[in-house]
């Protein structure tokens, strides 16, 4: 009996040893989203071109599906699994930009996707409106009052279809959760035109932003909110693509020298920004030493102008953060996400993606709107904020499919 017991013990020990060495790891399946205090049964997104899913200066179905609200909705299992966007068939409205090659000097050749732009979206508007109500060019005031317009894209008509304002259509859907991504268009003209005078002041923004949130609170009193702040617009690829110095055979006898480009005031000081449209002017000689013409002011942001714009962005973000705190909304730090990307890049699977124009992978080919991967980062920042605020455990968006 004692021998029998010893043998059993030895066999059990051997089995334990082998089992310990051979244990196997099961795959981790995507967990079901737990939304905590947030209710995604009726999720509506309002916002600008970023919410809309504009990439590469156009709206097209194969890129709209990567718009951050669609990614968030998918991760959260929102709207019963059917988050409706006004999907536009290829080549898009406007036809999206694509990189088709390189010039002999190594610059990217960017052209519109071939084909005829469709008349409108292929997805019929649901009776209460699209779940994604983002509209390119929308100001906060537009969300409250605008119902049509803006040729040639007519994005307001494309989304709203004459059925009322963005905020009205949002409320009509009795939303349980709303993402609000507004504020950048109040400032972006300053960057696109190189002039801070085009910005809407902080007090005016605060007033209209408060009015918008009040409207939501009144019209959709049970809805939880996530507010997205504004990225530092002077760090967009549109404003950083062109370096201040050019190196080439510009010296005596064709010697290679480095030249600091100039505007009417002289060589641009460090910290200046040259805007993307200057890419058309520099090959014509603009910005080189006299007698060549200087870069026009419309394509240059001086350091003082940059400081003014950056301060305005910070002021807006302070207003948005205060509103989030006051109203118990989650705050998605879009600015922080892209600031980290601008500073060090974002490493995904061992590959570092940056905010560099065309080659960086985080901005689309217009230099203003995020790429699909950029939208993935925004979506995950939104989910991080919602999870933290609502006690939710909504799994993050997989980024790998957005890089393939």
């Amino acid at each position: 009996m004692r021998t029998h017991t010893s043998r059993l013990a030895a066999a059990a020990l051997a089995a334990a040893l082998v089992a310990a060495g051979c244990s196997s790891l099961d795959p981790i399946e995507r967990p079901a989203p737990v939304t905590g205090n947030a209710d995604f049964s009726s999720y509506v997104a309002i916002g600008t071109s970023i919410t809309m899913g504009i990439q590469s200066n156009g709206l097209v179905e194969d890129l709209q599906v990567h718009a951050f609200p669609a990614l968030v909705a998918d991760a959260a299992g929102a709207n019963g699994g059917s988050f409706v966007q006004p999907l536009v068939p290829t080549p898009g409205i406007l036809p999206v930009l694509e990189v088709t090659g390189l010039t002999p000097s190594g610059l990217p050749i960017i052209t519109q996707r071939p084909g005829t732009a469709p008349a409108g979206p292929s997805t019929p508007r649901p009776i209460d409106g699209y779940d994604n109500l983002g509209i390119s060019g929308a100001l906060v005031a537009s969300a409250l009052t605008k119902t049509t317009g803006d040729a040639p894209t007519n994005y307001f008509d494309l989304v709203l279809q004459g059925q009322g304002t963005m905020i009205r259509q949002c409320i009509a859907q009795r939303p349980t959760f709303v993402s609000v991504e507004l504020g950048s268009n109040e400032l972006i003209l300053a960057v696109l035109k190189g002039n801070p005078a085009y910005m809407i002041g902080g007090l005016a923004f605060q007033a209209v932003y408060t009015q918008l949130l009040d409207s939501l609170a009144t019209g959709a009193p049970g809805a939880k909110l996530v507010l997205l702040n504004v990225t530092n617009l002077t760090d967009m690829a549109y404003a950083t693509a062109i370096k201040l110095d050019v190196t080439g055979p510009y010296g005596p006898g064709g010697a290679t020298v480095t030249i600091r480009l100039r505007d009417a005031a002289g060589p641009l000081p460090d910290g200046s920004r040259i805007l993307l449209p200057a890419a058309q002017l520099i090959p014509q000689g603009y910005g080189f030493p006299a007698p060549a013409p200087p870069l026009p002011d419309s394509v240059v942001i001086t350091p003082s102008e940059k400081a003014t714009i950056d301060a305005a962005v910070a002021n807006y973000n302070g207003i948005i953060a205060a509103a989030a705190q006051q109203r118990g909304a989650a705050l998605a730090d879009l600015n922080g996400t892209f600031a980290r990307a601008h500073q060090d890049g974002i490493v995904v699977g061992g590959v570092r993606y940056t905010t560099s124009f065309v080659t960086g992978g985080l901005y689309s080919f217009d230099g203003v709107h995020p790429s699909s991967l950029g939208h993935g980062l925004i979506a995950n920042e939104v989910l991080r904020a919602v999870n933290a605020k609502s006690g939710a455990t909504i799994p993050y968006v997989d980024l790998a499919p957005l890089t393939q």
Partner: protein
């Protein structure tokens, strides 16, 4: 003479240290240095009394009489699995290393010089690493690592002195030879196709690097020697490696993009790196629990905090230099085991042991290069001796490395959970020449 010694040692390294893996001890430590000790989970610093004492505690060499040779081959099976999570590589992704067998072994020779002094030499690998991922061309972590391999080889002449029957001291020099090999894929964002493509591979193969260190130890077996106490120390060794970096461009299917990549693709070139194999210290307490039963417990400390960064310096394309933060922590492991030998004099002995080995690796570093985790080891072993100086010992070790999550903070943006497991078996053949 020095060159000859160097060449001989290098040849021995190539022959003996065919491969190693991070099987037996956390980080890239290896404890499979003697079957007798492994039967009790490596708890041997207090009792080490045969030539394998050169590894476990050089003071124990003073117990050796006559001339003794111990040959300790091992067979290690190692496998690591990975399950991904969002944001990258995503849920449902499964990866695994090649399940591979490795045959590291140790060799010891020692002889008593007089009643109080003995000397010997040991050849072994207290560290080693090989993590080779299956299907490297499609492995989702291939830009981080598809193969990492470190094969150090310690050549350790040692001597010990017993000033009294109960007290011994020992020390030795460690001459270390080592190679390192790292493979990975290169990827880049391709704006022409708006996707990320594999653009090439890089394989780093070092030449043999060398360095010198030391080990030392004491043993005290007070009174009637029912209690045994031991302490040992192995110094850190820093090895500078030089080697060749072989870059190979891969076609992406887009000739225009391939031309752009090709214009800036790095050439094959010289690369340099350095690795410090950390200092280790052991403290052992053993007791003869009965006439038949002996038990020992060891606490081992490894100064892994010396592994701060893995630097790779390319001589032609310094823009590709890498400085990978590792920031490991100093850790302890606990090893304990029992040996049953009927009446204390029987020819056969039966052994069992357990150890817990704490991982030195912070979660941000847990990745394809080295997915480390806490480990639990269970060992069983047996020994036979013929009373005329011939011994045969054998052990079996199962290592369960617990699941290790990257906690969403992996420095390469490659998150998920790893689980590694290994099994080792080995024998030690001891021969005495009088």
């Amino acid at each position: 003479m020095r060159t000859m010694l160097h060449r001989a040692a290098a040849a021995a390294a190539g022959l003996l240290v065919a491969a190693a893996t991070d099987a037996g001890a956390a980080g890239f430590g290896l404890y499979e240095q003697g079957a007798r000790a492994l039967g009790t989970a490596g708890a041997f610093a207090a009792r080490a009394d045969d030539p394998s004492a050169i590894f476990f505690n050089p003071a124990g060499l003073a117990n050796v009489e006559d001339r003794q040779l111990v040959i300790s081959p091992n067979l290690i099976y190692y496998k690591s699995e990975f399950s991904g999570v969002a944001p990258n590589p995503g849920y449902g992704i499964e990866e695994e290393t090649k399940g591979e067998y490795f045959p590291p072994f140790a060799l010891y020779y020692a002889q008593g010089i007089d009643q109080k002094v003995a000397a010997g030499i040991g050849i072994y690998s207290p560290y080693g690493l090989q993590v080779a991922w299956k299907d490297p061309d499609t492995f989702t972590g291939r830009t981080i690592s598809t193969l990492s391999k470190i094969t150090p080889f310690y050549f350790v002449p040692s001597a010990a002195w017993a000033p009294s029957p109960s007290f011994r001291v020992g020390a030795g020099a460690t001459i270390v030879l080592s190679k390192i090999e790292l493979h990975r894929h290169l990827q880049a964002y391709n704006p022409l196709d708006d996707r990320t493509d594999d653009i090439g591979t890089v394989e780093l193969h070092s030449y043999t690097g060398s360095a010198v260190g030391f080990n030392a130890g004491v043993q005290w077996w007070p009174g009637d020697a029912r209690w045994k106490l031991g302490a040992a120390y192995r110094s850190a060794v820093n090895i500078d490696y030089a080697g060749a970096a072989d870059f190979k461009q891969l076609p992406t299917g887009n000739a225009t993009f391939d031309a752009i990549v090709g214009a800036g693709f790095p050439p094959d070139q010289r690369v340099e790196t350095a690795i410090e194999f950390p200092a280790q210290a052991s403290l052992g307490v053993g007791r003869q629990l009965s006439a038949s039963l002996y038990g020992e417990i060891n606490a081992n400390w490894t100064q892994w905090s010396s592994f701060e960064r893995l630097e790779l310096d390319f001589d032609q394309t310094p823009s590709r230099n890498l400085s990978i933060p590792e920031n490991w922590d100093d850790v302890f492991n606990i090893r304990t085991g029992l040996e049953y030998r009927k009446g204390g004099t029987a020819d056969w002995a039966w052994r069992g042991g357990y150890y817990f080995d704490q991982s030195p690796q912070p979660p941000e570093g847990v990745g394809p290069l080295l997915p480390d985790s806490d480990r639990h080891g269970l060992t069983a072993g047996a020994g036979w001796r013929n009373g005329r100086g011939t011994t045969v010992d054998a052990y079996f070790l199962a290592v369960l490395a617990g699941e290790r999550s990257t906690e969403g903070v992996n420095r390469d943006g490659y998150d998920g959970t790893y689980q590694s497991g290994s099994m080792s078996a080995g024998v030690s053949l001891g021969l005495t020449f009088r």
